[in-house]
Chain length 186, copies 2
């Protein structure tokens, strides 16, 4: 069974995180949602719009060997918290080297900081100045550049999830999730 | 400030609930997420895909006078729990009479049970036999029939949220949220 690591930090964009988790789990992927050790309220993490989601476990004992991919939802405050966390940066680098790494909205900022952003990527249009990296593409909801996959924002999160399901599980599972969730626009 | 009541029960569809809350709060609506009194884990409510969201308060002391609208996310288990809850049925009837009532995916089943489903509605395509009510429309992501608004499923939740923002706040706020969340497909 394919498995994906998804860290959330205070101020994460809730729709992006939940859309990714929902689509991936429907596609048969085991998704582990983790919180950072320095979160004020432990596993209960509050997003940018005041929605509190319970993470499955702490990032403390996570090792990249147990997963096929790591994916980062956006939201600026959550993104800054991820970027400032040394363990997150280490994991991002390990996933780039040996697995698949994904980020959306503001979170490609974390990939930039970790030095793993490729030649082609996308992000939230309003975030590209701060990410400040050549290769930004405005023309695609999801951009795959080798083992780095990026996406634009809240409205593209479900489509990003489908690309991950297709890559880790297969096109038939992806199509079943797409039909079942009424995602004809992806 | 416009205010919306959104109840969640074990087995709710997480993306639908979170998309509605996220879009409505970005649009300037105060959204109160409530749990049912008989939930096993109180305010922590787990959805159909294993995502646990923390509700803001219990439905116990809620009165319809404090809100402009009530909206129900789908997911079959959550829908059945809402349909079996007497207070939810009472509130649905009060909102139909004096305010606005909304439901999506499987949840128009609750409106049917409460006797408030109108002449034109939509729902999850796979739920229409069980809802068993004339007037089902397959051709629209969101159907407005007076003060009853319905929508189809996970992929249409963001568009449903925009329709609510336009109705309760105005077209300019709706357009700002639509642009900011990259929801050009709605």
């Amino acid at each position: 069974m394919a498995s994906v690591l998804l860290p959330i930090a205070e101020g994460f964009e809730e729709l992006e995180a939940v859309a990714l988790i929902d689509v991936m789990r429907r596609g048969g992927i085991e998704v582990r949602v983790v919180y950072l050790e320095d979160e004020t309220h432990g596993a209960l993490v509050t997003g940018a719009n005041g929605i509190t989601v319970q993470a499955d476990m702490s990032i403390k004992n996570i090792i990249s060997e147990d997963f096929d991919m790591m994916v980062l939802p956006g939201g600026w405050d959550g993104t800054y918290a991820l970027a400032e966390n040394e363990r997150v940066i280490e994991l991002v680098q390990e996933f780039k080297e040996k697995k698949i790494i994904g980020a959306m909205c503001a979170a490609p900022f974390v990939l930039k900081k970790a030095g793993v952003l490729g030649n082609d990527y996308t992000c939230y249009p309003g975030a590209k100045e701060e990410i400040d990296h050549p290769g930004y593409r405005a023309d695609a909801k999801v951009v795959t550049d080798g083992n780095v996959i990026t996406s634009q924002g809240p409205g593209t999160a479900v489509c990003f999830g489908l690309v991950i399901v297709e890559r880790l599980v297969g096109v038939e599972s992806m199509q079943a999730v797409k039909d079942g969730m009424l995602l004809d626009y992806c």
